[in-house]
Symmetry: C4
Subunit: 372 residues, 4 copies
Amino acid sequence: KTYDFLEMGSFAGPVAGLFEWFMVFLILSNIVVVALESVPHIWEAHEQTFWYFEVFSVTVFSADYLVRLWSCVEREALVADQNWKSRVKYIFTPMAIVDLAAILPFFLWTLFTADLRFLRVFRLLRLLKLVRYSPGVLSLVRVVYAERRALVAALIIMVGLLFFSASLMHYIEGEAQPNEFGSIPSSLWFSLATLTTIGYGDVVPVTTAGKIVGGLFMIFGLAFYAIPIGIIASGFSNEVHRKEFVVSRSVILATGLFHKLPPTQMHELGVRMRTMESSVGTVLAHRQDEANGLFILISGQATAYFHQRSIPLQPGDFFGEVGFLSDAGRQATVVSRTKCKVLWLESPDLHLFLSMNADIGEQLMESARVRI
Amino acid sequence: KTYDFLEMGSFAGPVAGLFEWFMVFLILSNIVVVALESVPHIWEAHEQTFWYFEVFSVTVFSADYLVRLWSCVEREALVADQNWKSRVKYIFTPMAIVDLAAILPFFLWTLFTADLRFLRVFRLLRLLKLVRYSPGVLSLVRVVYAERRALVAALIIMVGLLFFSASLMHYIEGEAQPNEFGSIPSSLWFSLATLTTIGYGDVVPVTTAGKIVGGLFMIFGLAFYAIPIGIIASGFSNEVHRKEFVVSRSVILATGLFHKLPPTQMHELGVRMRTMESSVGTVLAHRQDEANGLFILISGQATAYFHQRSIPLQPGDFFGEVGFLSDAGRQATVVSRTKCKVLWLESPDLHLFLSMNADIGEQLMESARVRI
Amino acid sequence: KTYDFLEMGSFAGPVAGLFEWFMVFLILSNIVVVALESVPHIWEAHEQTFWYFEVFSVTVFSADYLVRLWSCVEREALVADQNWKSRVKYIFTPMAIVDLAAILPFFLWTLFTADLRFLRVFRLLRLLKLVRYSPGVLSLVRVVYAERRALVAALIIMVGLLFFSASLMHYIEGEAQPNEFGSIPSSLWFSLATLTTIGYGDVVPVTTAGKIVGGLFMIFGLAFYAIPIGIIASGFSNEVHRKEFVVSRSVILATGLFHKLPPTQMHELGVRMRTMESSVGTVLAHRQDEANGLFILISGQATAYFHQRSIPLQPGDFFGEVGFLSDAGRQATVVSRTKCKVLWLESPDLHLFLSMNADIGEQLMESARVRI
Amino acid sequence: KTYDFLEMGSFAGPVAGLFEWFMVFLILSNIVVVALESVPHIWEAHEQTFWYFEVFSVTVFSADYLVRLWSCVEREALVADQNWKSRVKYIFTPMAIVDLAAILPFFLWTLFTADLRFLRVFRLLRLLKLVRYSPGVLSLVRVVYAERRALVAALIIMVGLLFFSASLMHYIEGEAQPNEFGSIPSSLWFSLATLTTIGYGDVVPVTTAGKIVGGLFMIFGLAFYAIPIGIIASGFSNEVHRKEFVVSRSVILATGLFHKLPPTQMHELGVRMRTMESSVGTVLAHRQDEANGLFILISGQATAYFHQRSIPLQPGDFFGEVGFLSDAGRQATVVSRTKCKVLWLESPDLHLFLSMNADIGEQLMESARVRI
């Protein structure tokens, strides 16, 4: 289906994977081209080439946008909506707005004959299209949102320190260097360069008192400016390790197990599921481990070794349900035969979804009965 | 009640929440205004406006201070004290001192007709008033206090390295650059800028020996200057995650469960309780989890799903006590219906408070009996 | 055996350990010499000495390469291959390519009479030979590979921020400083120096708008540039703690227990085994701990204290198998008598290997029966 | 006893604690004075004062050294040695060497009439005396030692990157800036300033190629230079949290429980014991917790709440042994009445020491029998 081709990338087959890489390459090329255009002599020499490249890019992006808009109804099939309503809804999803922002300025330009160079900043917005192809960037947004309280608290401390240091430096150095420290706002530049450890050196205290106060702020202030660094770096690292690839609704639907979930629970499931990619010969689950949830094979092949026999696993198959239901611990060791993508739903989350959807539990029960 | 309005913010209703945001905005405006005043041409153009703004700010802050002072007795109701004693006590609490420091300089000025500009640094103290509205800043104070031993040890190492490097650079570069490295104190400026990685570049070794020694300090010294950064950043991150909003005594009293606790235990309880804020549809507790303490709903609505039925939860209700008392593990899955604020007291701490206050245990017992 | 001498270092005895240190010293000397050669007056004064040193180095490295190539068949003994096939295979292993790259440029030079100075950069490649002697460098490669997804995501964010900030600064400062901010590529230099906190100070915004925008990027951008730092630093620290020395196939073979494993499982084993080095008198395993796998003594001497008696352990002996097989928990406290190197295979991994290789299980069984 | 007074500080009473603070203050004053002396006009104005201060310092330090040397035999009482042998041994302990290095230069000077200013660098060694009073500095030494393998691996990578970047910059920028990049050693200065993010800005690439290569090193190189920072910062933080005050042999002896341990086990015990300081009203152990070892009260007062009654605890008393011996979990909740210092030996370590010293086990048994 067209929608799967665009949305699921390498899940939907090698051609879709190749198309994904082409789009990433085109987006990155756009950024480089915008940068090159700003160099006067390059612009003059290749103005025509830049124009062709821009037309080509906009054509591809527009086609991508329109096909997505047309095919988005495939996704909404399970929500019994009218097609045009689904499409209007789609237009206002964040990714669709980003896609539109990547092409609209160009069309406005042809209407109002503005300068291509004037559009440059808007064309940088195309970088946002990468979000679709890099789960990492989305992770970052989620981290910043999850840590917003800590970050705001850190920001208050940082701004407080900044103004306090700028005021002190203004009183101490103001007379000696009226241009650089003549007012608190102008002192801010020095304080900021110092507290962030950038230290351009264009402004530097010259009086002994200024050096002493500046030195104290260096020693005591730096640690506070590193707080957001620590928060974001560790949060990002945790978030990225939880999700090794994006779990879109399509991926969950593809497993067959959860296709009767209402949309709101589907979303919740997508957030709770962990994802893992593994190379050939990796042990996906140990027989002796505690049973810690349900695993679903998304792509690749694996083998489950039970005590007496082994069962081959195909994409869409799940494992771990025997140990989960029987409380007897993990019953099989599962080893990947090829590169695999696996979804993992931990026991407490699985319990929750089962308690709300009895039919999924029965389906798992059935599968476990067959396997033991 | 007036006290709750001022102290509990959004807990006390939307108007109190709005007032909280207004106070935060007013404090931040004061900081910006103090900075702007220091620019000569802005000061000359708007001297009158600045004056009106200052009078307005002081009026609001003074009213806030007086109302808090007057209403503080409401808080002390359970401690059978005379009102005037409570108020004198209140004056010497840290936050009351900060509030006074934010307004007192203005009144002293009207008495002694000093310059408004002279008061600028004191007016920056108003930034401290933010502590009341941002639990993060308080967290930082607590982290610095908790880690004081590690920080002092790090400081000794840092100061040692600093003096050692400054002395060596003074011996090596002293002759080549008598102005910059002519004495140990003057070498300190270079050493500090180097070890903190600020590197202004206003002073730089010129001899080969100076560059080699400086280079060795860069490689080996930097790691030691990052120690306090790591300590504070990780401590702050842990602290902030433990408390997502402030637990004041009023919040604990509002739960009804603990209102007979003596004040000292009340304080201990406030320190031990963890707080969580959650959005709509979050699972606050899983049925299958180990019972890990008592939860109290502070605001918002939630539903507890037992095996056979579900119970709606209102602010003030607690949950988790069934599993805690019966040792049978968590018995219900609790899902939030609206945005919720929840207090969480972990099992060991709950045991402690129960062993000291038998009546709370009986109250929990009673509730559990009704629910099962 | 020659192969063990070269490959196992201090495992193969003190002379091999000494040879290892000599090679490390020779590689480091080469780097220093290449640096010194580039100083014109040193080069002129000591051209002859440099030449002798280069010939000596190449001789040693060539001999090392040839002996390794000749003796590599010893390692492949268990894989029944023809000798010349093993050697051709060896030539294309990564370390053999590094070894060749360290000497080949010299021989090409004698053929084509190029300048020794021209070869300098290639001679720096000899630094890569250190990888063989420092497990840490290999760890780093593994960390970067394992975290490639997180690092690429971080890179996208960093590059996006970089271009975004460079474009903005170009628009704002472009007119005031046409040389430094006249195009986006030239603005990149300032943006990069700022976001990485290097801050050379050779380019600095001069307009107020430029300082404000630059300041905002300082505060908000820095945290994102620290993400890869956090990822690599924590990953490296974890990786290094897992492996305190390299587990080559030879070391595993030396234990006697696993010499019948097929090569693919041997590799898997090498990756899963943890290694520990301990000083005299360290407690390697506590009697009361949960049984957490099998330990194999590689070098040094230890004593196992059972309830009633004690057993001396020699290199090649394993311990922990009694507790593992009987589910009765660790039965002995093992204390090192000398400096020891120990391999540790955790319980889940051990289960896996036993389930695939019944004979190893029997061997362990036998040993446990004797000991109890 | 004299030895306790000097060695145990505040453990030995308030006067000893005061003396400790005086010594710390005197050491810090020495550092400041050495720095001030190096300023020519201060030196000329106060030469006499500096001389008196130096004589006073040396007198105090010499007295301290001699009294420690004389009283060190008290410590060695349990090791039946001759007094003079103990003293000779003491002279060669690291702290005694530091003490000697702090005073010896002064006496050599009076003999050979060298200049006081010449001794300045040696007088900075007095800073090392702080190690005795700050457990943190010792922790740092231990961390650096424990992480030596990771640090060496990181250093190899850093040096490799440094030389690689310096060589490349030398080839690219060498012609444009022969003074700054004319040889690899001179390029090292720029590379080091860049990779450490110091960025003095005294040397900056001017060619486009140089800026591109420099930029790539900024992005990819920085993360590797942060590795030792991460290792040391996290190691130091862990180490400091494990030990909140120094456990000297004297402290262990004071507990009475372990005074029959042989010296080697005594040392092992000191390393394994964790230490905690707590304020009034802290819960030192919860009744419901798993029994996790033995606690010994070093100073302060506490109360143990059993199910039916409570027992006051004095310095030297231990608690936790009932739960440890009966496997019934912690039996009492212990709350501090005053500021307390507590030693904590975790269960596995306690098992080890008991298995080697049956009499300690009996002593604990006896105490537990009384308490239940």
